[in-house]
């Protein structure tokens, strides 16, 4: 008889335990209990989110591919596979290893599909850097990402970092990986074909990470808990070998199915591969390579040791596959066979220690969670602008905003990442979106005869303060902004991966945030006609200090038709005309300005009109594709003034000022300069191209306004005749470029 405190300690409820005995028609063995506990954890089983995730669109204007562990789109003869995943709790407990293994895990999700990983991005959130522990987490996480990503040789090309006190006690580390394959070379995470051997490859199994998904990822943090033993340890060198060996193995054509042993380790791989292939598996644990002695069957089944894979190989080809892994000095061992009884049978030295229907492990119960709008929102959404004093010196405010950690230049971070390895990065980190060429992968010759001219752009986005104050609109804006970032590089938004970070789903107010964010993503994606091809949910992001802001991080891929037209955000030459696409509205709610200058997280999100958004984006894309535009930058946190300042100073070697003297708005000056009205893009182009750009804007019905001219060593902004900003570039650059480093290194 298993006592309640045993299954409680594994994270199972009384009801779930009864359910298990009903399925088995008997008491579970220790090993079986362990297997259910991890497969039915929120992290693996999506018990509380699954119902809502079904709402997300799976098709869009680009042909989609949805696999077991990742998804992607088809571009000509290529498949672009990508996914974003969280590693929040491990990073909070042990920042370097937590972040490193987060990166390792997402990379494996990509190359197990048969795709070569070509880029990484990271969406990171921390509490304020003024607190020493947050600085420790921040530097530890960056260190973990550089440690892992640099060694495996995948460029880290972008992402986002922001800071808010809601993340004190629960930081967010979301890693995204992009891979590429010939579309006919992809493999699935399925085991089938009676008698086909099941091979274990990669690192050996130890006691690290036991219960990572069920104990660590599926509960909130309590005060003073010691959870370090549940964090895994990363070995990027082994991962690098595993990437090469796996891709070589897949290339033989003898791999029937393959899956990464990530969360829930062997249990997850065995049950999910069998279930997805509508088959069973008979496994002998004695054949599992291990690095510790006397491991119990349940420990082997729950371990989350890193850099391991399970492969279903075509019968008779075991030796060929084994040879490849041995060449890379990796383990390769046949640990079982595919059966046709639908059962997962686990043996230890011949003795059966678990026998469960594969489907019953993978079909975790679905819970319909109650949700309720937080009462506090009504008060929080109220914003009386008349009670907020206008700044006397806007220059000072601009400099202050440029220095805030969420806005300031992140080169201190991305220069620690190898962002150029593989030599595909054409637009480097630091612009709205990074751009990668595809010419080395595609056999489709363009005019020049050397691979395709097409390229992809990638970005991540989410303003969690918006999502806190208005989850539905905040999530829509996250999608719209990600798309806008891509549009500014000249890319057509193509598909989404989402990483949904929320508090405890058992609390109805947290669940309301989740539900509304999912609906917001759904509606925005439908409006852009793009699919959500992969994703991840991370609940229980709470500490005794409270829940995090709802943070549905959006990772988005865009397609450029011609790499030579890729655009970046900095002004390129003196005398160019500066154009604003879109409108400025008197909106200050939820803004960075209110938070940083007035210490207020209040009001509602800026309005979002998805039709206007698309008109603006399509205008920018077409103008860039025609080669009419020299720079494009979107207005986001910090509004128009911050966006203009960034366009002036983001190329240190060639800073160019601007005279913005044609604004003509009747509104508060702080709202004009720092308000965060959506659907705005700042373009610069030479004088001869203005008429053509205007024509494109007319065609798409996008608001078009010439607001000034580039040139000089000063950013000057006037509204009508009122002087608002007059700031030398050196001052802007100083605040924008060095604040992060100063915050960290003092």
């Amino acid at each position: 008889m298993i006592k309640p405190d045993v299954y409680h300690s594994l994270g199972l409820s009384d009801k779930e335990y009864q359910n298990i005995t009903k399925i088995l028609k008997r008491e579970p063995s220790n090993t079986e209990l362990a297997m259910f506990s991890v497969e039915w954890s929120e992290h693996c089983g999506y018990l509380r989110s699954r119902r809502w995730l079904k709402l997300l669109p799976k098709t869009g204007k680009y042909k989609t591919l949805i696999g077991e562990d990742s998804g992607g789109i088809i571009i000509d003869d290529l498949a672009i596979i990508f996914k974003m995943e969280s590693h929040n709790h491990p990073s909070q407990v042990e920042p370097k290893q937590g972040a490193a293994t987060g990166v390792g895990g997402i990379i494996r999700d990509i190359f197990t599909a048969g795709a070569r990983p070509i880029a990484l991005l990271d969406s990171l959130r921390f509490g304020p850097l003024s607190q020493a522990y947050n600085r420790y987490l921040f530097t530890g996480v960056i260190d973990g990402i550089q440690f892992y990503g640099n060694c495996v040789g995948i460029p880290t090309i972008g992402g986002e970092i922001s800071f808010d006190k809601s993340y004190t006690g629960n930081c967010l580390v979301n890693a995204m990986c992009i891979g590429i394959a010939k579309k006919d070379k992809l493999v699935r995470a399925r085991a089938h074909g009676l008698g086909n051997p099941i091979m274990y490859v990669g690192s050996s199994t130890g006691r690290d990470g036991i219960g990572g998904c069920s104990i660590l990822a599926s509960h909130e943090f309590k005060e003073g808990e010691e959870k370090r033993p549940t964090v895994q340890i990363g070995d990027p060198f082994t991962e690098k070998c595993l990437i090469e060996a796996t891709l070589e193995a897949i290339n033989t054509g003898y791999v029937v199915g393959i899956k990464d042993m990530g969360a829930a380790g062997l249990t997850c791989c065995i049950s999910e591969m069998a279930s997805a292939g509508n088959s069973g598996m008979d496994i002998e644990l004695q054949a599992v390579p291990r690095r510790e002695e006397n491991m119990e069957p349940w420990e082997l089944m729950m371990s989350e040791s890193q850099e391991r894979m399970l492969i279903c190989v075509r019968k008779g080809k075991e030796e060929q596959i084994k040879k490849i892994f041995l060449k890379w000095d990796l383990n390769a061992s046949v640990i079982g066979r595919v059966t046709n009884d639908g059962l997962v049978t686990i043996r230890d030295n011949g003795k059966t220690v678990a026998q469960i229907k594969a489907h019953s492990l993978t079909q975790a119960p679905v819970y319909d969670m109650p949700y309720r709008k937080p009462k506090s929102l009504r008060e929080l959404n109220k914003l009386e602008l008349s009670k907020i004093p206008q700044p006397k010196d806007c220059n000072k405010v601009l400099l202050q905003l440029l220095a805030t950690p969420s806005i300031t230049n992140k080169s201190w971070v991305y220069e620690q990442y190898d962002h150029m390895v593989q030599t595909n990065t054409v637009v480097l980190p630091g612009s709205d979106a990074a751009v990668l060429r595809l010419s080395r992968f595609s056999g489709i010759p363009p005019k020049a005869g050397k691979g395709t001219n097409k390229a992809i752009a990638a970005t991540t986005d989410c303003n969690s303060r918006y999502c806190f104050l208005n989850p539905y609109s905040g999530a829509q804006i996250a999608v719209a902004e990600a798309a806008r970032n891509l549009a500014c590089s000249g890319a057509h938004p193509a598909a989404v991966t989402d990483c949904l970070n929320f508090g405890n789903p058992e609390k109805s107010e947290s669940f309301w945030q989740f539900k509304n964010c999912v609906e917001g993503i759904r509606d925005a994606c439908k409006s852009f006609n793009i699919a959500v091809v992969s994703g991840n949910v991370s609940f229980y992001n709470e500490s005794p200090k409270g829940a995090i802001n709802p943070t549905p991080a959006i990772g988005m891929i865009g397609i450029l038709n011609d790499i030579n037209k890729a655009c970046s955000q900095n002004f390129k030459q003196e005398g160019d005309i500066v154009i604003l696409l879109g409108y400025c509205r008197e909106e200050l709610g939820a803004s960075e300005y209110l938070k940083e200058i007035h210490n207020l997280t209040k009001g509602d999100t800026p309005q979002l009109d998805l039709r206007l958004e698309q008109a603006v984006q399509e205008t920018a894309i077409k103008a860039i594709e025609r080669g009419l535009v020299n720079s494009a930058h979107d207005c986001s946190e910090g509004g128009l003034a911050v966006a203009l300042a960034e366009s002036c100073v983001s190329n240190k070697d060639n800073m160019i000022g601007a005279n913005i003297n044609k604004l003509n708005y009747d509104m508060r000056r702080d709202a004009l300069l720092f308000g965060e009205s959506q659907s705005r893009i700042i373009l610069s182009c030479s004088k001869d191209c203005v008429v053509k750009v205007r024509k494109i804007a007319l065609e798409f019905k996008a608001p078009f306004c010439i607001i000034g001219k580039t040139g000089g060593r000063v950013l000057r902004i006037l509204n009508n005749i009122e002087k608002l900003i007059y700031s030398p570039l050196e001052d802007l650059y100083e605040e924008w470029s060095s604040s992060l480093k100063k915050n960290i290194e003092g």
Binding site: Q146, N150, C151, V152, G153, D235, P236, F237, T238, K240, C241, E244, W328, D329, S411, Y414, E415, Q416, Y417, D418, H419, M420, V421, Q422, T423, T425, V426, L428, R437, R440, K450, I563, N564, D653
Partner: protein
């Protein structure tokens, strides 16, 4: 005229070097697995960047014991052309094919960015197509690029004109301010006395095509080709 690109299990710039030789220079290239020892038929060996054996210990400390390294030492002794880039440079130092050692960057961080280097010596088979003092825009990406050698060693490098590249500003000014990693005397690349082995921290293979932001590294490979073809620098 055959190039060989060495592949240690943790090399990660091997494919980039291979691509440049094959697709940009349009010359034949082969991979050399680190457990192999046969360098027959090769005219130039490239030791690429990466993390040869994970480099959890000192960079290159394990790689120098690879079977292939003995062959490379023989190849170099016989006058064969060897270029070590980034981790390849670190391995050449560990193997004693070039003098000096690498310390961690003085900022104690990995650093990836475009820098400028001054071409100090153009009388080499690696740099003959540059002008003396030509400034190259070229990326670095390393954690241990802080080159060090004792005073006598430095004097010898200088006396023999073995310092090939030094970090500088976009305008060519060589000073500590433009030294990204603390390397002694702003040293970014050196050759052996014989002039057939070059080690450099910056990545020429990342700067061979204009769309990547700079094509200044291209002429290192072109210079090698010229040498292989004509025997002239």
């Amino acid at each position: 005229m055959r190039f060989g690109v060495v592949v240690f299990p943790g090399s990660n710039c091997d494919q980039d070097c291979f691509y440049v030789i094959k697709e940009v220079l349009k010359k034949p290239a082969t991979y050399i697995w680190h457990k192999d020892t046969d360098l027959d038929g090769l005219d130039c060996v490239i030791l690429p960047g990466g993390f040869s054996y994970g480099d959890y210990l000192r960079t290159g400390a394990i790689a120098r014991f690879s079977p292939v390294m003995k062959s490379i030492a023989d190849f170099a002794r016989k006058g064969g052309t060897v270029i070590g880039i980034c981790n390849g440079f670190q391995i050449l130092l560990e193997a004693g094919l070039l003098p000096g050692v690498m310390l961690r960057n003085r900022g104690l961080h990995f650093l990836c960015k475009h820098v400028y280097i001054n071409t100090e010596n153009t009388q080499t088979r690696f740099t003959s197509l540059y002008n003396t003092g030509q400034i190259l825009k070229i990326p670095i990406a390393h954690n241990e690029g802080n080159y060090y050698i004792d005073a006598a060693g430095l004097k010898e490098l200088r006396d023999n004109n073995q310092i090939v590249f030094r970090y500088c500003s976009a305008a060519g000014e060589i000073s500590d301010q433009f030294n990204p990693n603390g390397a002694l005397d702003n040293i970014a690349g050196i050759i052996n006395k014989k002039g057939n082995v070059l080690g450099m921290m910056p990545h020429p293979e990342r700067s061979c095509e204009r769309e990547l932001g700079s094509a200044d590294g291209y002429f290192i490979f072109k210079s090698i080709l010229k040498w292989l073809k004509t025997g002239k620098t």
